[in-house]
């Protein structure tokens, strides 16, 4: 592999894991997180947007984070920098569950 190719590959990883990771939107509709499971790269900002006519609330299973109640059209964002799996649910309707997988 040439030096140029190595440089290109390194640049790709920096982009892939750094501040430029593509942001992700999870829509809350009909009492479901859509998509219910997403895989993102470290550094990704995940935004939940509630489109239901009833508020929802994003809570990590062990309450490591908790959003404010999201009324219709409101959003909540979190940036995930460490690899791992995050399980969350709706604090108002706990049968609603979702998962975020953070891996490089």
């Amino acid at each position: 592999m040439t030096a140029l190719k190595w440089a290109a590959l390194a640049a790709f990883f920096v982009l892939g894991s750094g501040a430029h990771a593509e942001d992700t939107v999870i829509e809350i509709a009909n009492f479901t997180f859509n998509p219910p499971e997403v895989t993102v790269k470290p550094g990704t900002t995940v935004t939940w947007k509630n489109t239901d006519d009833i508020p929802h609330l994003v809570v990590e299973d062990a309450t490591k984070f908790r959003s404010k109640p999201l009324d219709t059209g409101e959003t909540f964002s979190m940036t995930f920098s460490e690899p791992g799996e995050i399980d969350y649910f709706c604090g108002l309707h706990p049968h609603m569950k979702g998962k975020i997988i953070v891996k490089p």
Binding site: P55, L57, F89, G91, P94, H95, K97
Partner: protein, 315 residues
Amino acid sequence: MTGDNEFEGGISRRHALECMLWAGTGVLWGLSGGVPRSIGLLDGAAAAEAASGFTFLQISDSHVGFDKPANPHALDTLKEAIDRLKALPQKPAFMLHTGDITHLSKPDQFDNAAQLIGSAGVQVHYVPGEHDIVDEGTGKAYLERYGRNTKGAGWYSFDDHGVHFIGLVNVANLKAGGLGSLGSEQLEWLEDDLKPLRASTPIVVFAHIPLWSVYPSWGWGTDDAAVALGYLKRFGSVTVLNGHIHQLMQKVEGNVTFHTARSTAFPQPAPGAAPSPGPMLVPAEKLRSLLGITSVSYSQGKEALAITDTALADR
């Protein structure tokens, strides 16, 4: 119906109750010696009330602050419900509010609710719904207003006219994937609270989320309700009043009558009848037939309490 054929009796009784529920609003429920009978429409309710002299009201799910298409004027329909109460010929002994007083636990929503409900001039016993504890302090705002003389997240009991009333909280500390939850601390308190009571004491339990499994895939049930109902088994008359599902639903199991009240804010679909339990949009002229209040009468010597549901549209 004979006492040694309880199974058959249970079926026919339940069937009869289902039929009566479909008969619509304004029917007075009477249970005498375990046999349900419809006493009549609303004037019948007034007659029964005059005979016993003890009636209380249940209102639920006022969602003050809700302004979405299913009802852009939730405060107006709450006012109509309170006006109904004010117009009663005989004032109820008190009122139970089975939660979701507010839509988003905001101070102005609590203020508006308190002002309007307070204008009825009747004592109100509250339990919180999940919408009442989404403030930053997860329930602090509710407890500051309604938590005096309560335990934990706001549970308590009191006695009135020989009936033991128990307000339970099944909307706090909810766990991922679960339903409503009472939690071990509250269950222990309940067991102790019931201990000194004679089995003949009529019991009324009120809580926001149904204490029976209405439709678990929409979260309409309480995970540890069976433990609470176990403690209530020895009592001859138990009435469980809930809200949360914004529609009438009734079930009788042994000595326990379960009943859910209408909302005063917006209706929700029947279990499984829509993709989600979200607010149900109905034609404006139909809305008030799906909102309403519940009146409960107790007659000494009767096994069960008489429950009357009145829609805002009923005349």
